[in-house]
């Protein structure tokens, strides 16, 4: 975790004054935010608004991770990228856009926004972060990120969106279940629909990414999230949210259970039988 800022500067007090007024946050909460580092896995429809609001709220360090480049078809929902960024690495494009919100932080921590090159093997050095947000777009990455979080003991704020629906859960948090507790076996590749196949209304990941930002901020500030062992489902067509109580941590879970068989990262593309991208669905084995 980052070195504590001893106190808020006068400029910080002005900048964050509207949230400092909140009894749920206050000066201590703001200092907690400035000490917290967050890794955002995926700089697409979810990662863009998430990065934007975390940076604006004063999170101490953001890691932005993506394997992909900006394409024209991203722009309707990935609001940190513009036409001029087409062909650029998404993580780099997002980092440049987000720096706008963090000028003050850069003064005391020159690494406050980091551009992390995706290697398809999330490195343990990436897990210097305190909280991880899964904003990825494919099944192998979701298992990879989950296992990395369980092994390194980090809470995972996970969201997803497709068509006009969204889902959100906080995994591996305060003794609650992990992603594998819920989904011990990956879905058959032919049952997985991604945004390239199924489409997505851009503002749906917008809402879900903002919701992720809220839960990250609640955890980082010390308030705590209310979404551990909960699934929040959003139906944009009916404008309806629903919260579901999930199963507890499973003693037989392969990664967080009592006798875990997964104690280091494995080959997730082989495990899932699909590639860690939303472009080409099936892996040719």
């Amino acid at each position: 975790s980052l070195t504590s800022k001893p106190a808020l500067s006068n400029e910080d007090i002005m900048r964050y004054s509207r949230q400092l007024l909140l009894p749920e946050l206050g000066v201590q909460g703001q200092l907690n935010l400035s000490k917290t580092s967050v890794l955002i896995v995926g700089c697409g429809g979810l990662g863009c608004p998430l990065a934007q609001y975390l940076a604006a709220a004063g999170i101490g360090r953001l890691g932005l991770l993506d394997y992909d480049e900006v394409e024209l078809s991203n722009l309707h929902r990935q609001v940190l990228h513009g036409e001029e960024n087409q062909g650029q690495a998404k993580a780099l494009s997002a980092a440049k856009a987000v720096k706008r919100y963090t000028k003050l932080h850069i003064m005391w921590n020159s690494a406050s926004v980091q551009y992390v090159q995706f290697t398809r093997h999330l490195d343990f050095t990436d897990l210097i972060y305190d909280i991880v947000a899964d904003c990825s777009d494919n099944v192998p990455t979701r298992y990879l990120v989950n296992d990395a979080c369980v092994i390194s003991g980090k809470p995972l704020v996970s969201a997803s969106a497709l068509r006009m629906e969204g889902q959100l859960t906080v995994y591996n948090y305060r003794g609650g279940p992990c992603y594998r507790c819920l989904y011990p076996v990956p879905p058959p590749p032919e049952t997985v629909t991604n945004c390239s196949d199924g489409g997505v209304l851009g503002v749906v990941p917008g809402i879900m990414g903002c919701f992720q930002a809220l839960e990250v901020l609640k955890i980082a500030s010390g308030q705590g999230s209310s979404c551990g062992q909960q699934l929040v489902m959003f139906d944009a067509q009916d404008a309806r949210f629903r919260s579901i109580k999930l199963r507890p941590k499973q003693p037989g879970c392969a990664v967080c259970g009592e006798n875990p068989s997964v104690t280091q990262l494995v080959d997730y593309e082989a495990f899932c039988g699909s590639a860690a991208t939303d472009k080409c669905r099936k892996l040719n084995l």
């Binding site: 494919n138 969201a159 997803s160 629906e165 989904y183 991604n194 579901i244 199963r247």
Partner: protein, 101 residues
């Protein structure tokens, strides 16, 4: 004999696309000698509602990996899964996990 029971079925996350895109179904399970359980409900759904490609919904005698089942707004794992005995007016949701971002 157990009396017929009315239950409310919901499909989401794309699972509704296997049911002509219809998200909500009010159904009545007929009277039978034993109480209805989830295992029998899955068979009933396959025979009466699921018109094609059952492998996208079922695997063996349960739902396929990646579909979450909720009984009265709780994960079915908390309720006994396949053995859960359905009650009149129960609400059962089948939700396909989303992976897009």
């Amino acid at each position: 004999m157990a009396a017929p029971i009315a239950i409310h079925l919901e499909f989401g996350g794309g699972a509704e696309l296997l049911f002509n895109g219809v998200k909500e179904h009010h159904v009545t399970l007929p009277s039978q000698s034993e109480p209805w359980d989830m295992k029998q409900l899955l068979v009933w759904i396959q025979r009466n509602l699921l018109k094609e490609r059952p492998e996208l919904f079922l695997q063996g005698d349960s739902v396929r990996p990646g579909i979450l089942v909720l009984i009265n707004d709780a994960d079915w794992e908390l309720m006994g899964e396949l053995e859960y005995q359905l009650q009149d007016r129960d609400n059962v949701v089948f939700i396909s996990t989303l992976h897009g971002g």
